[in-house]
Amino acid sequence: MVLKSLVLPSFYQDSVALMRVAQALRGEKGVREAAALMGTPSNHAILEQAGLARALGREAGPNDLILAVRAESEAAAERALAAARELLSRRRAVSGQGTAPAPRSLDGALRLLPGANLAAISVPGAFARREAMKALRRGLHVFLFSDNVPVEAEADLKREALARGLLCMGPDCGTAYLNGTLLGFANVVPPGRAGIVAASGTGLQAVASRLAALGEGVSQGIGTGGRDLTARVGGAMTLFALEALKTDPGTEAVVLLSKPPDADVLPRLESALGSLGKPAVVCCLGAGPPARGAGLWVETLEDAAGAAAALLQKKPWSPRPFADPKDIRARLARLGRGSGAGPGLLGLYTGGTLAHEAHLLLEPHLGWIPFNEEGGSSPHRIVDLGDDAYTVGKPHPMLDPEARAEWVRRAGRSRDAGVLLLDLVLGKAAHPDPAGALAEAVKEARAEAAKEGRRLVAVASVVGTASDPQGLAGQVARLEAAGAEVLPSNAQACRFAALLLKPGLAEKWLKGAA
């Protein structure tokens, strides 16, 4: 086995570009392992850990690109590195706008596009404040995708934004719909009457997609970042966004999705909801309705969309554990009782809000479930693979499904896991075929478990629409072909997973379904 590396000095590439180069390296004949990383301290540690570090690469700095391969022969390693260089030089040639080289700064970009009104910022978190502040001071609204941004920086940015009457969506804002334009990871939904204010990404995606399935659409979808309703940030952007939707003529009903607000922020939030003058649905995952106050408070993302559609369509609505209890009974009958299955549930999520929702829905039924960290006494675990802790220097798992696929395969070898709980998020900017890698891993994991006489049930839900580039029906079919049980929403997938582990819950949830 030969280990070879190459350093390209002053050759900064973003995390998505690096992922593509690494994939290309791994795809070359004779290559066993490969990496394409900028020479930051954390990436040097990753290379050491993977056994891919070499003296040459250790000297590389954060703006230098390191390519490293372990291959069967010297020739194979050389061939792979040459192919990667070729790919990189092609990328440089086609990037930029038309024939002119891309500007190197925000001010350079503004000279090319003087009427710009929004900056989309997705640089590494350590550098995000500087770029976002510059954009706000030039009068641009900000869509801040970057994560790992300190909360103090967030509070500063939002203060600046409010003083200028601008949106600062994020940090860690994955999705927005503004004036008919989709920003970040977004599902293709029709324009419509529902205005959504949401903490970050997948909650907004789940509700927008569900609304589309119910015949509605989105007027505006404004992200705020997951920490907006904390005491430190004070609900700055949520309150500002609600005010904007109040006066937006295209918005007939408002949906607010968030984590539980800080006790000091809640009264201001309630007062803003009370003065909207439009019906509002509130889903603060983990918080019930306050004693008094405006808005229809619901427990799940699916219910938020259902309630909003019903309000708009002037139809009655009430929450239900399963949309089709008969289908659930049929699935349970087909699967039979959990003979030989492990006792534990392993939730592997790419969507943070979906992971959080699963945790809240399942703990009352399964007992304590460790979130992200490994649990000592609990057989269960839910992991949000898009969490900051798992994405430093790496693309989000919605862009690179391989990271999760490895976790799924490991679950096949685990004695604990009986039920795998999964999400799959489609839409613009997401991987072109996320179900492909996941389905393959699920199939392998199930086969691995079966070899040892264990049964591993995969339960999944898909956030997406028929108009998404990946196509909802095809992605669902791929997962089903791999033996996964695909439920119509995350909440229903969670309840179905709970039923597999605690069959007694059927009494409560499936009463009356033949």
């Binding site: 080289p101 929004l118 989309a120 640089v123 334009t181 505006q220 295209g250 613009k428």
Partner: protein, 59 residues
Amino acid sequence: MSLIEGPLRVVNVGLELFAKELRAEGVEVVHVDWRPPAGGNPRLAGLLERLEELDQQEG
């Protein structure tokens, strides 16, 4: 929405993927060929930012 008049016109700083998606949607977008400032050293970049802040306050 009165907050933003007319269609979005976007400056993209960071993942080039987002600029490509917007262009495909027909949105006017300029992508910035961004590199980490101060040679990618976050501490030096922080100092640089503080100097810029001082400039801003004085200017």
